[in-house]
């Protein structure tokens, strides 16, 4: 009899524990609720992070973002509200800000989108709808309503290719340069 009561008590405790767990367990992510495509990327998200790359002891670039998502399969990054700083060998810097961007893990190329704004340490600025940093060549490509201002020169166009210092540029599509008109 005592043994039966003890078994019943254990069963009730287990039942209560399971009930508590059932109601208090964390909600399963939607991704887990539904069958996922076999190749759907999985992202790890970090907030307020800074990542950078160094070469031969010198920092090449540094990216700070409100959020950084890492695709665990490809190791590519997705960043939100990003500030990317590129460091030149001569000590000059270019700082780009954008609402969002992507970084390719293999090529280290960085693509920024949505009202990109850039400032160099020697005062040049440019704005564009999109900007891409090609790590291998150290080149920027900006597209969409590009506007570059350096001293008294204003350059506008559909596409702009430039080096990391914004010293040598190529503007294509509705290319327009005003020298002496900038304030």
């Amino acid at each position: 009899m005592k043994k039966a009561n003890w078994l019943i008590g254990c069963a009730i405790v287990l039942l209560l524990a399971w009930g508590i767990y059932y109601f208090l367990r964390p909600e399963a992510p939607a991704a887990e609720k539904e069958a996922l495509p076999s190749k759907a990327p999985t992202f790890l998200t970090y907030e307020g992070n800074t990542i950078s790359e160094e070469k031969d002891g010198r920092k090449i670039w540094q990216v700070t973002a409100e959020t950084i998502e890492i695709d665990v399969d490809s190791s590519n990054l997705r960043v939100k509200n990003v500030k990317a700083t590129f460091f030149q060998e001569n000590g000059t810097q270019i700082v780009l800000t954008a609402p969002e961007g992507n970084m390719d893990h293999n090529s280290k190329d960085i693509a920024l989108k949505g009202s990109v704004h850039a400032v160099t340490s020697d005062g040049a600025t440019f704005t564009a709808q999109e900007a891409n940093w090609q790590a291998k060549d150290g080149l920027f490509t900006a597209t969409g309503q590009v506007k570059l201002t350096r001293e008294d020169t204003v350059v506008t166009g559909d596409r702009l290719d430039t080096d990391g210092k914004l010293e040598k540029i190529k503007v294509q599509g509705n290319a327009h340069v005003v020298k002496g008109g900038a304030k």
């Binding site: 350096r150 350059v155 010293e167 040598k168 540029i169 190529k170 599509g173 327009h176 340069v177 002496g180």
Partner: protein
């Protein structure tokens, strides 16, 4: 004819500033439009390609390709070049501007102002001296007539044009046909005249005047001969 010659001189004068040589133009912003523009801010060199339009002040250059050095303000534009400044137009295959002062138009250049036209194989213009040079052959058209020669120099500040070699003046309105080795045109007010020297010969209204030196006065149909001269008058039929 004097007024027409003077207009032709003014057309040469209006080249000032097209080379970027005039101080006023030199201080104006440069506005460059093209399909593609490459700009090296270290060297200060812009290369514009495709439907190029370069505007500075009241001057506008168009062409297929242009190179502009913002440091030296040297310009090279080629491919169907057209330069417009106020009511003067220069067309050429290529135009170069040097030292903020010197403009060279080559490749069938034609400078036009109103009905007046200056043409030659190459037109050189120096803004500081107001000096234009056309060598090889030169042709100046006005509403009043045509002057051709092997070499033409225009001294715009002095309103003087010098033409050398095979000078030929033809004026339908004056019924004048004159030739000489050398000619000088003076355009200042009250001094409007053309002096033809060296084997000078002028035929006007059928009358022939020959001499070492002939002076054609612009305000009327008068002509003077200096030195050994000869006049052959053809009687008019009554």
């Amino acid at each position: 004819m004097r007024r027409q010659w003077k207009s032709a001189l003014l057309a040469v004068c209006l080249l000032i500033g097209l080379s970027g040589g005039a101080a006023a133009a030199g201080n104006e912003p440069i506005d460059l439009v093209a399909d593609t523009i490459e700009y090296d801010s270290v060297r200060g060199v812009m290369i514009a390609t495709g439907n190029v339009k370069l505007v500075q002040g009241k001057s506008m250059m168009t062409g297929a390709q242009a190179e502009y050095n913002v440091k030296t303000q040297e310009t090279y534009i080629h491919g169907g070049v057209k330069v417009v400044k106020e009511d003067a137009t220069l067309i050429a295959e290529e135009v170069r501007g040097y030292d903020n002062n010197h403009l060279i138009a080559a490749g069938q250049p034609i400078l036009t102002k109103g009905e007046n036209r200056l043409a030659g194989p190459k037109i050189d213009y120096y803004a500081d001296k107001g000096y234009a040079l056309v060598e090889g052959w030169a042709r100046m058209d006005t509403a009043d007539g045509v002057i051709t020669g092997n070499r033409l120099e225009a001294f715009t500040q002095e309103e003087r044009v010098v033409i050398d070699g095979n000078v030929h003046v033809v004026s339908e309105t004056r019924k004048l046909d004159a030739v000489s080795d050398h000619a000088v045109y003076y355009g200042k007010k009250g001094e409007g005249r053309a002096v033809l020297t060296g084997n000078a010969r002028a035929i006007q209204d059928g009358n022939t005047l020959t001499g070492n030196s002939l002076t054609i006065y612009m305000d009327d149909k008068a002509m003077d001969a200096q030195g050994r001269s000869k006049l052959v008058v053809i009687p008019k039929d009554e």
